[in-house]
């Protein structure tokens, strides 16, 4: 029986549940003996020139070994994204100007961590405040410039649609609806904050322990910033406590830690605090969208337009690229004859943006799914019915969209039907009708979303090595980089399937650039369809190699050999030689590089049920039914776990979370006490419905599942809350749907 598709409990867990995982701050490596602790002095002002920095008092404080400012730092300022305006450079420590609250201004190195906090307070920085721009649309006016030398706040024109929208774009539509909506800034907030630890060896190489999602990219980036060859840098990832996109690649602090370690000739450790993380770590989303949808009263959607302003924050990072995905995925699951989009990315005096679970695609889904509900409302059609009428038909795949994507496989109407059936949609509508007619203060809202997303987009190539040892154990090396996704178990299953060796005997290694020089890490839900498939093929290659060798040993033809239960066997006879024995004779190892060449497009449909107290505005998510189709399921335990976490983060954005600043650029959500991460008490259990439509682009049919839940749940919940109060005249409420916002919308509609 195949192990693929079975529920295998994780091999990681016995250690995680006893000794605990080993994160960067937990390292007790003896090479870190005598490590200094880095404390960064960060700007309390959003936009200012620095007139002076006095570090004398700090240098005299107990335990202080050194204090560095921007004037002492010879690392060349870096451009955080290649396509960004070339003048938008970021120094590793601010020199004469700060551009957001939280920007690093000085570095304090102390013997003990707590001494750093004391000494940092003694660094005296004089700031001359400048005008601040926090609002994206204000920033586009270029009245307050973050980089005067750039002459503009426009970070990149790469997503601008220079052709413009045709005047007659909606001319053939009976009904046209337009709305400006906000996809608010959110914090990834992995429970482990950022961390880096460095030491230099006698061989002149730097070893950096990092909390990141891809060791190899971090090595190349950090080496570039430090001005050394990548071969001079050894990046090692201990266990990583969540990432959600915000730990893709490297952060400037990582290079600073390496540089400081060289400078003082001692190991240096840095582990940021949560309040530091809430302004220092890159954040997600942050778009203002103008959606316009047109079509006929019979429910035919004919034209859709999406105009995006995206927030880059103060210094460009990966966030600059993400509107590409928002534009690509703009039409969602729908076969719309005309689709037009454009996007501007703008700098503001806020924390930089980058990827957060979904990274550009949830923004597209939110926009089109709100648009579909607005259009359904305008023509008085059931929103589920409108969706089913307009989705791409199964016979049209592979389907090239007006967004420029080639959808591999999908059955969108079937997914919607499965979700509706699971939810007893008609029954819910009947109950909603009853409560509306009764004037019940507790109103029901039912929200539907249909979604498609792109996984494994970008980095198509991944490698794996599978080696059998003479003691019968197996090592798998992977260029992917788990931080909660269970690769140690999943990749062991893929190898076990071919080798017939138990998963408990298979060790998966990752995140060490000397051991695994190439790899693209874990992001964009890419791991299984790239790295997993590479393991699958490497294991097959190893089986072929073993058969070749066994043919000599067993004096048999290769065609007569099979590998099962960890040995090569001659079919129909009892003759066999174990893989372990073959490994004892000669190294038994296979490397495979797999090029997926294309991304895949998982899809699904969610139905959310919310209850809204129309007197207080409080909305509660009661149930969510999710169909998430990412092809065949390798391990349902891990697959469903990814969906649960994703669904929770989508609900969290819809209902609770928003990173906020005041007009002066002061963070209002700078700690976990202020930022609305949901607890168990704010979420329901989730109802998952299975559907498996394989992709055609890889041998096993796998697509990615890491982000799907977030992409599907957020618009379903958003639509549900508005649906609960739509009979009171409410058309739209921006997220997060707090009691105040819902109550205000009801009150406004009543006027």
């Amino acid at each position: 029986m195949s192990i693929l598709g079975t529920r295998v409990v994780r091999t990681e867990d016995p250690v995680f549940l006893t000794r605990g995982a080993t994160y960067t701050d937990d390292l007790t490596d003896e090479r870190l003996t005598g490590a200094l602790h880095l404390t960064l002095v960060r700007s309390p002002i959003a936009h200012a020139t620095i007139t002076s920095i006095d570090v004398d008092a700090a240098k005299d404080a107990p335990g202080v070994v050194a204090v560095f400012t921007g004037a002492d730092c010879d690392l060349a300022p870096m451009l955080g994204f290649p396509a960004a305006h070339k003048a938008m450079l970021r120094p590793f420590l601010a020199v004469d100007r700060v551009r957001y609250v939280g920007e690093a201004v000085a570095a304090v190195l102390t013997e003990e961590a707590y001494q750093g906090e004391d000494a940092a307070e003694l660094v005296d920085v004089d700031y001359e405040p400048l005008d601040v721009v926090v609002d994206m649309k204000e920033a586009l006016k270029d009245e307050v410039l973050l980089f005067p030398e750039a002459g503009t706040n426009l970070v990149s024109g790469m997503h601008l649609n220079k052709e413009g929208r045709p005047e007659d774009f909606f001319a053939d539509c009976e009904v046209v609806v337009s709305k400006e909506i906000v996809n608010q800034r959110v914090a990834a907030a992995p429970l482990e904050t950022r961390a880096a630890t460095a030491f230099w060896g006698e061989d002149g190489r730097c070893t950096l322990f990092l909390s990141t999602q891809n060791a190899q990219a971090a090595r190349d980036e950090v080496a570039g910033w430090m001005g050394i060859e990548p071969s001079q840098l050894h990046v090692i990832l201990p266990d990583v406590g969540g990432g959600f996109g915000a730990k893709i690649g490297a952060d400037p602090e990582f290079a600073l830690v390496g540089w400081l370690s060289k400078k003082v000739g001692r190991p240096v450790r840095w582990n940021e605090s949560r309040s530091e993380n809430m302004t220092g770590m890159v954040q997600g989303r942050g778009q203002v969208q103008t959606i316009t949808i047109g079509g006929d009263r019979d429910g035919t959607v004919k034209a859709y337009s999406l105009e995006v302003v995206a927030d880059a924050g103060a210094y460009p990072r990966l966030g600059v690229a993400l509107p590409m995905f928002t534009r690509m995925m703009a039409p969602g699951t729908y076969d719309i004859p005309k689709v037009w989009s454009t996007a501007s990315v703008v700098a503001t005096n806020t924390t930089s943006t980058a990827a957060y679970r979904g990274a550009g695609r949830p923004e597209a889904t939110q926009a089109i799914e709100r648009a579909m509900d607005l259009f359904a409302d305008a023509i008085d059609m059931d929103p589920a019915e409108l969706r089913k009428r307009n989705v791409v038909r199964p016979e049209k795949f592979p389907f090239t969209t007006k967004g420029g994507a080639e959808y591999d496989t999908g059955e969108y109407a079937k997914a919607i039907d499965l979700a509706l059936k699971a939810a007893d949609y008609d029954g819910l509508r009947a109950e909603q009708k009853r409560r509306r007619e009764a004037g019940d203060p507790l109103q029901l809202g039912i929200g539907v979303s249909s979604y498609v997303e792109i996984t494994g987009g970008g980095a198509f190539v991944e490698n794996a090595t599978v080696q059998v040892h003479e003691d019968g154990t197996v090592t798998v090396l992977t260029g992917t980089s788990p931080h909660g996704q269970g690769h140690a178990t999943a990749w062991a299953m893929l190898a076990s399937e071919q080798l017939g060796i138990d998963v408990d005997k298979i060790t998966v290694k990752h995140g060490d650039t000397d051991l695994i020089p190439k790899g693209a890490g874990t992001m964009g839900s890419r791991s299984l369809q790239t790295g997993g498939i590479a393991v699958h093929h490497a294991a097959i290659d190893l089986v072929e190699l073993a058969k070749q060798r066994a043919a000599d040993v067993l004096e048999a033809n290769v065609e007569d050999l099979v590998v099962a239960d960890g040995s090569v066997q001659v079919k129909g006879t009892g003759a066999a030689v174990s893989l372990a024995e073959l490994a004892g004779r000669e190294e038994l190892k296979a490397f495979h590089e797999w090029d997926a060449k294309k991304p895949t497009f998982p899809f699904g449909a969610h139905v959310a049920l919310v209850e809204v107290d129309v007197e207080s505005g409080k909305a509660t998510v009661e149930r969510i039914w999710a169909v998430d189709d990412a092809g065949p399921i390798l391990n349902p335990l891990i697959f469903d776990g990814q969906r649960h976490g994703g669904i929770a983060q989508g609900i969290a954005q819809a209902m609770l979370e928003e990173v906020m600043w005041d007009e002066e650029g002061q963070p209002l959500t700078g700690t976990f006490a202020d930022y609305g991460i949901p607890s168990a008490a704010e979420l329901p259990s989730f109802d998952l419905v299975t559907m498996e439509t394989p992709t055609t682009i890889n041998t096993l049919g796998y697509k990615g599942i890491g982000e799907a839940g977030t992409i599907g749940s957020c618009p379903a919940v958003h639509n549900a809350v508005i649906d609960a109060v739509s009979h009171l005249g409410v058309e739209h409420i921006d997220m997060p749907l707090t009691p105040m916002r819902v109550w205000a919308a009801i009150s406004e509609a009543a006027k």
Partner: protein, 174 residues
């Protein structure tokens, strides 16, 4: 100041700065690294341990406050313990960072209330944040560890006033 604290049944003793938090004492002085620190506002619960059997966020307690007391961390349980075993079986952890605190909070919760419902578990773990699991499988794991059938415990949320498990039938049903 000198403290004598029993940690996982073993006596420990050290001269600590008065401001040393219990979390730092456990991690840096005793060297038990399972207990994690995820925030600086006592919001996340990753540092939850038991002090004389009661669950406590160890970032909110000074080491000197638990002088002459007994502390238990996840390291003391082992993988055969009903709570850790259930977390593994029900996939109640992903990245593992919240896990030591979540597990200890669950141990305490089960001890306090032997007849847990899904709602009890959700409210009982309100002080512990997990960013990975959406809590679904954590709740199941705690119910399993408490000897409950998680599916039945979920359905038990339904009664004659509800139109489906887990949500009300509105004010009109009263």
């Amino acid at each position: 100041m000198k403290v004598d604290i029993t940690v996982n049944g073993e006596p420990t003793s050290a001269d600590v700065e008065p401001r040393t938090l219990l979390a730092h004492y456990l991690r840096d002085t005793v060297g038990l690294k399972a207990t994690n620190i995820g925030c600086d506002t006592t919001s996340c619960g990753a540092c939850t341990v038991l002090v004389d059997g009661e669950s406590v966020k160890s970032c909110t307690v000074l080491a000197v406050q638990v002088d002459e007391q007994s502390v238990q961390t996840m390291e003391d349980l082992g993988i055969e313990h009903k709570v850790t075993a259930a977390f593994r079986q029900e996939h109640g952890l992903q990245c593992g960072f919240c896990t030591p605190g979540m597990v200890m909070a669950a141990v305490s919760l089960i001890e306090e209330n032997p007849d847990l419902t899904e709602k009890d578990v959700r409210e009982g773990l309100e002080g512990n944040i997990c960013r990975c699991t959406g809590y679904h499988n954590i709740v199941r794991a705690v119910l399993v560890a408490a000897g409950k059938d998680p599916d039945a415990a979920q359905a038990a949320g339904a009664d004659d006033k509800t139109v489906a498990p887990g949500f009300s039938a509105g004010e009109g049903a009263k």
